[in-house]
Amino acid sequence: MISARVRALENARQQLGLMLIIAIVAIGFTLQTIRFADAENLRNILLQASATTIAAIGMTFVLAARGIDLSVGSIANLTIALAVALAGTPLPAELSTATDALVYPVVIVFGIVLGLVNGALVNLSGVSALIITLGTLTLYRGLALHLTKASLIPLTGAILSFARTEVLGIDLPIWSMGFATVLGWYVLARMPIGRLVLAVGGSPRSATETGIAVWRVRAFVFALSGFCAAVSGLISVGRVGVLNSDLGFGFEFTVITAVALGGTSLFGGRASVVGTVLGAMLLTVIQNGLNLIGADPYIYDVVRGGILLGAVSIDAFVRGQRPMAVQMSD
């Protein structure tokens, strides 16, 4: 029997591997330019990672429950577009300041609702989440572009302040990311719902047989993912100051990559929030460092691909130490 301790160590090792890669990459960049390694750049990295990380934490839960949410980028876009459309409706003057402050609840609620729509469709139809969210990926984006007519919408007012506010000298997006990390870790690893998410993802059949309300767990993860996507949308537009039609395009890909790098299984039952955060960090650090050293644009993807290959090799090496009988199941 493989002892519980060996198991725990193994999981830690995966994350250590990722940290090692991040460290190697960081040292490499620092050797190129010392400005990589100062506090200001740390802040840049964290800021640049925040939107991806938050959405990726939501995605971690979805994947853990054996689902997938391809619509995160579209949700980010559509929630903002809806908020803009609502704010654009002519209102009596005394109400307009009120609506300005209402923009956050509106965006958040829309995020959750769009996530719940995903969840409800998956629950009610029994069609795989991949197909449903492939549909909503297109549908939500179409709706968003229909609202904005694909043009660039400059934003003003409260909607921007989330990304531009500092609390105790640290930007709100960074706080949110930290908060999401701790909370996500706590919920997944410690709270009953986290265990249920892993249970449903590990074996939906067993979950049903045990009397777990599988549909409720699914609704929860999709709502959470919608919520996280909306928050990351707020961060993105807050930073850029405009809603452009490209917002969130291909976002699902980056987000899932971060989660997969972090060691979460794409087939459910195994997930790590900390791994996800590290995965998102690695992606951001690469991009940031390449910008900093002024790399040739054409070699960006070569470096990125090479580092990903390095990450999988380390991971494969770590897993290579496992006994044969266990390996058989991967």
């Binding site: 492939l134 990559t257 070569v302």
Partner: protein, 331 residues
């Protein structure tokens, strides 16, 4: 005492023969996009002028060909329970390589062979990494996506490669026996690989590996070899798809395949192949690819703005897959 007298009631359950309708519905469970395909065809036939005209159909067939070929390859990877994200990039690189060789050597066939060889090479690398080194396919093929794409960009400086020998475009535009040449290629590929999948030991072992990898190993399937070949097929067919793109466009380019990644995955999963592996097939991929092409063209011809097209496509995907599932539910 209630013993024995019910002996008579306990006669063997006669296996009732399923009716023809039940069988048809059962078959449909495996083709969730068939109803969508039928409905869409009928709807477009009546709403779009000349939808069924020979030239429009030929246009759709040419559009279908590379998507289908790439999706056939990727289906093998899905069936074995893995994923290949490098398809689009391999299509691009192979189109670049094929176009370069065609331009510089003037030979159509040399170019085509080069394109396919590039795909084969990428497939072998993917296969070796996933099957032998046991790299997780998602991350590994993602890395390949980036690297292969970058090679294409570096090779061309971002420019596409065109003005190829006239024979290229002639071959790509020509029809034989009423069907575009590129469709013939796709059809031949489809038949060969459908036979490989359905009729041969390799196909069977592939499916078993995808259905339960552990059990496959206990049942003396060489899982490594099977996974390796699945990736090799995927790479090679992506290479061939790149060649078809060159034939069709008369040029190759470092990003021509970018959109193909998402559309191949969409074609495969809409068709009804499971991403978990072990369940699916090429008829399904064909229906999935056909739906994508049909919607793309039909909605465009209807004159919807492109975002309203997106709304309709999204709704059709959702409603269609739910409807397909509902029609095929066990009764």
């Amino acid at each position: 005492m209630t013993l024995a007298k019910s002996e008579k009631m306990a006669r063997r359950a006669q296996p009732t023969r399923p009716t023809f309708l039940a069988q048809a519905l059962h078959g449909m469970r495996k083709l969730p996009m068939l109803p969508v395909l039928v409905v869409a065809c009928i709807a477009f036939y009546f709403t779009v002028d000349d939808f069924a005209s020979a030239s429009n159909i030929a246009t759709m067939e040419r559009f279908l060909a590379p998507l289908l070929v790439a999706a056939i390859g990727a289906t093998f990877v899905f069936l074995v329970g893995e994923i290949d994200l490098s398809v689009g990039s391999v299509v691009s690189l192979s189109s670049v390589a094929a176009a370069l060789v065609m331009r510089d050597s003037g030979s159509l066939w040399a170019g085509m062979l080069t394109g396919v060889a590039v795909g084969l090479g990428a497939g072998v690398i993917n296969g070796a990494a996933v099957a032998v080194l046991r790299f997780p396919s998602f991350i590994h093929t993602l890395a390949m996506l980036l690297v292969v794409r970058a090679i294409g960009l570096l090779l061309t400086g971002g420019h596409s490669v065109g003005r190829l020998p006239i024979s290229v475009l002639l071959f790509g535009k020509m029809s034989t026996l009423g069907f575009p040449n590129v469709l013939w290629i796709a059809a031949a590929v489809w038949i060969v690989f459908a036979l490989l999948l359905r009729e041969t030991v390799f196909g069977r072992e592939l499916i078993l590996t995808g259905a339960n990898r552990r059990a496959a190993r206990f049942n003396v399937v060489d899982v490594r070899q099977t996974v390796f070949w699945a990736f090799t097929i995927s790479g090679t067919l992506a290479g061939l798809a790149g060649v078809i793109v060159v034939l069709r466009l008369g040029s190759g380019g470092p990003i021509v395949g970018d959109n193909l990644l998402l559309t191949t995955i969409a074609a495969i999963v809409l068709g009804g192949t499971s991403i978990q592996g072990g369940e699916g097939g090429l008829v399904r991929t064909l229906t999935g690819a056909a739906v994508i092409v049909l919607l793309d063209k039909g909605l465009n011809l209807l004159g919807l703005s492109f975002y309203d097209q997106a709304i309709v496509v999204g709704a059709v995907v959702i409603v269609g897959s739910i409807g397909g599932k509902y029609l095929a539910r066990p009764r």
